[in-house]
Symmetry: C2
Subunit: 345 residues, 2 copies
């Protein structure tokens, strides 16, 4: 099997996507090729032995093979001929904008390229935290209370302490905890730098968080272990950056059988059928024994490989059971019938 | 001003998109060029004097100029040089799949091409009728009750009569009214031909429908008149097909001042800020003096031109006030700082 890892793109998380992509090399044991999407959204085929972060930050990748995205795949020119880059499926490991907002999924769907990653709908619902709230609620998955404010209406009715997040970013960028009134204005300014809309949630001190990942293969969800991640208030970007290079296995969290079941049940509710084709990680809070969805990561850092026992096999199995797309026939039946009616008149 | 009308694509509504595109020629009075997306999703530049439905159904368009979509626009080869097709903005008049499901919006966003039409989020929320319900409810816009069923779970608890719709299509395709138990199975089979998920709503006899269109220009919504469309049960595809070629102005519906205000208020709630950049038409039901959202059409047939007094000016004004995109800087700040930390170590 040959998988193509697509990473980079125009995203605040461009750099952690590079880190994620490099990490995958250590944990997927089949033929891998790398397709870098640079900040101008040009694509380059980078040989897997040249995959170092410096290649991208220095611009050395510009001497790699430039690709064009067209029907059926990525193409490059060689001796006046156009060649297609051959692979079985793509792994979308672009984090944040472009990769998780539906753009790259739409490109791959439009050009008929099979990929591991969230589809357009899944991307939009998980990328926009307001939509995530609506979706979770409709499925009966609890979330924290919330308010959405924008630049024209910054009225917040929720009592402090609160947590402020740009509505559409991941990786803790632009996120602040506000415990005192005096911190509010600055925190809002920071968040509004990244989005025109901002999500407000209550900040729950010492909340216990559990992460679980999984994907659907052959009709069944394959769950990862459940992790209780490190207890920092929340990860800032520097820490998250390192977090995205994780490849060491972690220990399963000690949870009761009932809580274990509850966490899996909530994961499954979120996953099906919206996220089919993707390996996602859901981050849950547990408050007074109740499970709350905090966040859906449809392209988690290094694909949350460290949570799975047999990650390499999982990825390859998933590549073989991606959702089939529905081919829509275009027959010109109506135009033809109108034309023949005109002909008879 | 020069506008490029993009139409066709892989969609059950490919043919009515052609009809819509042709209709626009009669109602937009600036330079127009036509970009046809064929059923294989190849793009062709078709001169506006060749725009007849037969050109597309017969395959004659294959002799037109083939285009490639890349950063900044559509390109064609001429004398070994690559030339960009010049225009000020695109009008996306692809109906249904590809055009209203977020794919074409994502392509234009990714390749930095300005367009009139719904963005990715707006497309996903309006194309999926379940998401439309969640969105409307969250904004305080009433909708009819609903259930979503799929092939594995066809249990419907709602009493007859009901209306059955594929979750993700427009233009009445696959839609049935079920008044008797005996009609149910066939109606579900029809709907499941088009989608794996199906929306069930109560069927309200003799409901009054009002349509209104509009778009936001310079901070204000410009509303169309309100139309009470013809009273057919619901339009089947043949009638809808003809409906998409409408260019004759219609009469304003006679509604009370209060209802007029209510309809505009609900339109505005739906429109802002999700649909900025698009001319949308909302179809409302009025039941016992209360306004219910029936459907959002983010690319309505022939852009609902017949509802506007000054449609040509409206389109051109909108083209000049499209939402600005946020350019995300990629600086390699973190990779550089880690590299310099390593260098010092």
């Amino acid at each position: 099997m040959k998988l193509a890892i697509v990473f980079g793109a125009e995203s605040y998380e461009h750099e952690i996507s590079i880190v994620s992509a490099i990490a995958l090399k250590k944990v997927i044991f089949c033929e891998l090729i790398y397709i870098f999407c640079d900040k101008n959204r040009d694509f380059y085929l980078v040989s897997s032995d040249k995959i170092t972060s410096k290649r991208f930050s220095s611009g050395e990748y510009l001497s790699d093979v430039k690709l064009t995205l067209k029907q059926g795949g990525f193409y490059f020119k060689k001796l006046f001929k156009e060649n297609r880059v051959e692979f079985d499926a793509i792994i979308n490991i672009i984090h944040g904008a472009d990769g998780e907002d539906g753009k790259i999924a739409a490109l791959f769907d439009f050009f008929n390229i099979p990929y591991i990653g969230p589809g357009i709908e899944a991307s939009v619902i998980s990328y926009n935290k307001f939509f995530t709230k609506l979706y979770a609620k409709a499925l009966g998955v609890k979330t924290l209370d919330y308010e959405v404010v924008n630049k024209n209406n910054k009225n917040i009715s929720m009592p402090l302490p609160i947590i402020i997040k740009p509505l559409r970013l991941g990786s803790s960028i632009g996120v602040s905890v506000v415990k005192e009134e005096s911190e509010l204005e600055y925190a809002l300014d920071v968040a509004f730098e990244f989005d025109d809309e901002v999500l407000i949630e209550p900040f729950v001190e010492n909340v216990i968080e559990y992460n679980i990942a999984g994907c659907k293969i052959g009709g069944n969800i394959r769950y990862s272990i459940i992790e209780e991640p490190q207890k920092e208030l929340f990860l800032d970007f520097n820490k998250k950056y390192l977090d995205f290079s994780r490849t060491n296995k972690v220990y399963e969290a000690r949870v009761t059988e009932m809580l274990h079941g509850e966490i899996r049940k909530n994961f499954k509710l979120i996953y099906e059928p919206l996220f089919e084709g993707a390996i996602i990680r859901c981050d849950f809070f547990v408050i007074k024994n109740k499970v709350y969805l905090n966040e859906i990561n449809p392209n988690p850092g290094s694909l949350a490989n460290y949570l799975f026992e047999e990650f390499s096999a999982l990825v390859q199995d998933l590549a073989l059971s991606l959702p089939k797309r529905r081919k829509i026939p275009v027959t010109y039946k109506y135009i033809s019938s109108i034309q023949s009616a005109k002909g008879k008149a």
